[in-house]
């Protein structure tokens, strides 16, 4: 059984910081935004560390909490050795678990936190996720100033950071259940088409989730995938139809929902913050959706292994959220 139900785990609060491009995107209610990619730091990596530090500091301040009120910090990002999260975590002197699931890090951190809260004596857990367009570009693709031509299937890593506080104290977002996905490799090795890499993983996790919890896709007001992008989400729908005979009516992809068409981001946004930014700053604030299934999708991409002619595996984790009145 990959699916788990939670009795009383709540997402109490969230805090978001967004990058300069995301500031003018379709997001509505972010907390703070950056004017430039450096964020008054010397390098882009330091800027990303500062973003994480700022969201953690601010969410604690907003909720009048001190670090001693937090039992565990869980987080991750895209950089090698999740160094950004490690370097921001060292500022807080909190028990810390670092996670890496590429762009599925956010739901993975919710799952780990929810399980700790559900089964152990933990009271309050802080999660943090971030990505920075230029640190990701530099690490996974070409140098920042190198203008390599990109195909229409490429996605654009979003810049931002999100912190959330989870506890057993009731609040307006309930974490109802989750499904842990298994890695799946469908033989795609094109790092410029990560939507196609991740689509089967998202489909498999969605199917497992619905199957194990004996639900229909219509049970949810919204099914939101992480960052398949405009091309990947079409492949996802087609794959679901052919492989699992499932047709989705209320479906959105966060990658597709993040940027405006005029922002020139190819097939849409990607990165670990893409899903939480769209979820918190664009969809939940509408108040329209009550039962939301988020499926974070991560391409477990390694430039080394792709160069060794290996295809890219992908993973997807699902978390069911209930927005209460």
């Amino acid at each position: 059984m990959a699916s788990i139900k939670y009795k009383n785990v709540y997402l109490n609060d969230y805090y978001t910081v967004v990058g300069p491009l995301e500031k003018n995107s379709r997001l509505k209610s972010y907390d703070i935004s950056l004017d430039d990619y450096y964020y008054k730091e010397n390098t882009f990596e330091l800027a990303e560390i500062k973003m994480q530090k700022v969201v953690i500091d601010n969410i604690l301040f907003k909720n009048s909490l001190k670090t001693k009120d937090i039992d565990l910090l869980i987080g991750g990002d895209l950089t090698n050795q999740i160094s950004v999260t490690n370097y921001s975590a060292k500022n807080f002197n909190l028990p810390f678990l670092g996670l890496y699931a590429a762009c599925a890090t956010f739901p993975e951190s919710l799952i780990v936190a929810a399980n700790f809260l559900n089964n152990m004596s933990y009271k309050r857990i802080l999660t943090v996720t971030s990505s920075h367009n230029l640190t990701a570009e530099k690490q996974f693709r070409y140098p920042i100033e190198y203008g390599s031509p990109k195909p229409h299937t490429a996605t654009f890593t979003a810049t931002g950071s999100v912190a959330t506080i989870l506890s057993k104290i009731p609040s307006h977002i309930k974490i109802e259940s989750s499904t842990i996905g298994s890695p799946i490799d469908m033989g795609i090795s094109d790092a410029n088409n990560l939507g196609a890499v991740m689509a089967p993983a998202a489909a498999q996790t969605l199917f497992t989730h619905l199957n194990e919890l004996k639900r229909d896709a219509d049970y949810y007001d919204l099914i939101l995938t992480g960052d398949l992008g405009c091309v990947g989400s079409e492949i996802f729908k087609e794959y679901l139809k052919i492989n699992y005979n499932l047709k989705l009516k209320k479906y959105l992809d966060a990658g597709c929902e993040l940027f405006l068409k005029s922002q020139g981001t190819y097939a849409g946004g990607s990165g670990p913050v893409c899903l939480p930014l769209v979820l918190f700053d664009r969809l939940i604030c509408l108040g329209k959706y009550k039962k939301i299934l988020i499926i974070g999708t991560g391409a477990l991409h390694s430039a080394t292994l792709v160069n060794q002619k290996k295809s890219i595996p992908a993973i997807a984790h699902a978390v069911s959220l209930e927005v209460l009145d």
């Binding site: 140098p143 100033e145 203008g147 990109k150 195909p151 229409h152 196609a196 091309v231 492949i235």
Partner: protein, 145 residues
């Protein structure tokens, strides 16, 4: 669905690049650079009385200088991604790749950062350029003497 079927599905559903447009853009932009370069060579040979070979060397240096300065000023990557091979194939592409690597790694130290990564993208061009030049020279010596 097996892997082969999935690859086919992905291929069918991924939007195709407009090759004709890319080819035409590259042809005209690359051609324009060549056209201006030819003018520059005429200018040098007529005004300073140097040979065409020498003038071509100066042109090459000018293109590298322009490519590097434009990269450092931060707008060349936008031109590059729009104009594609029109700017990649001339020497501007080489200069752009070296300059962008240098900018990326300058904060990681002169030796471990900038020096070690300077030819990250252009290294292949240099290596295989030298190797093929060597073999072509050998062939030339064997055929012509």
């Amino acid at each position: 669905m097996n892997i082969e079927e999935y690859k086919k599905l992905v291929k069918n559903m991924s939007p195709q690049e407009n090759r004709l447009k890319n080819i035409l853009v590259a042809f005209f932009v690359g051609g324009l650079i060549g056209f201006l370069g030819q003018f520059f060579i005429y200018f040098l040979t007529e005004s300073f009385g140097i040979s065409i070979v020498e003038a071509s060397r100066w042109l090459c240096l000018l293109l590298i200088l322009i490519g590097t300065i434009f990269t450092a000023l931060g707008f060349f990557d936008t031109w590059f991604s729009k104009l594609k091979c029109g700017l990649i194939i001339p020497t501007t592409g080489f200069a752009h790749s070296v300059a962008s690597c240098a900018l990326d790694f300058k904060k990681e130290g002169l030796i471990t950062g900038l020096g070690a990564n300077f030819f990250r993208l252009a290294g292949s061009v240099i290596l295989y350029g030298i190797i093929s030049a060597f073999f072509l020279c050998v062939i030339r010596v064997m055929l012509i003497g």
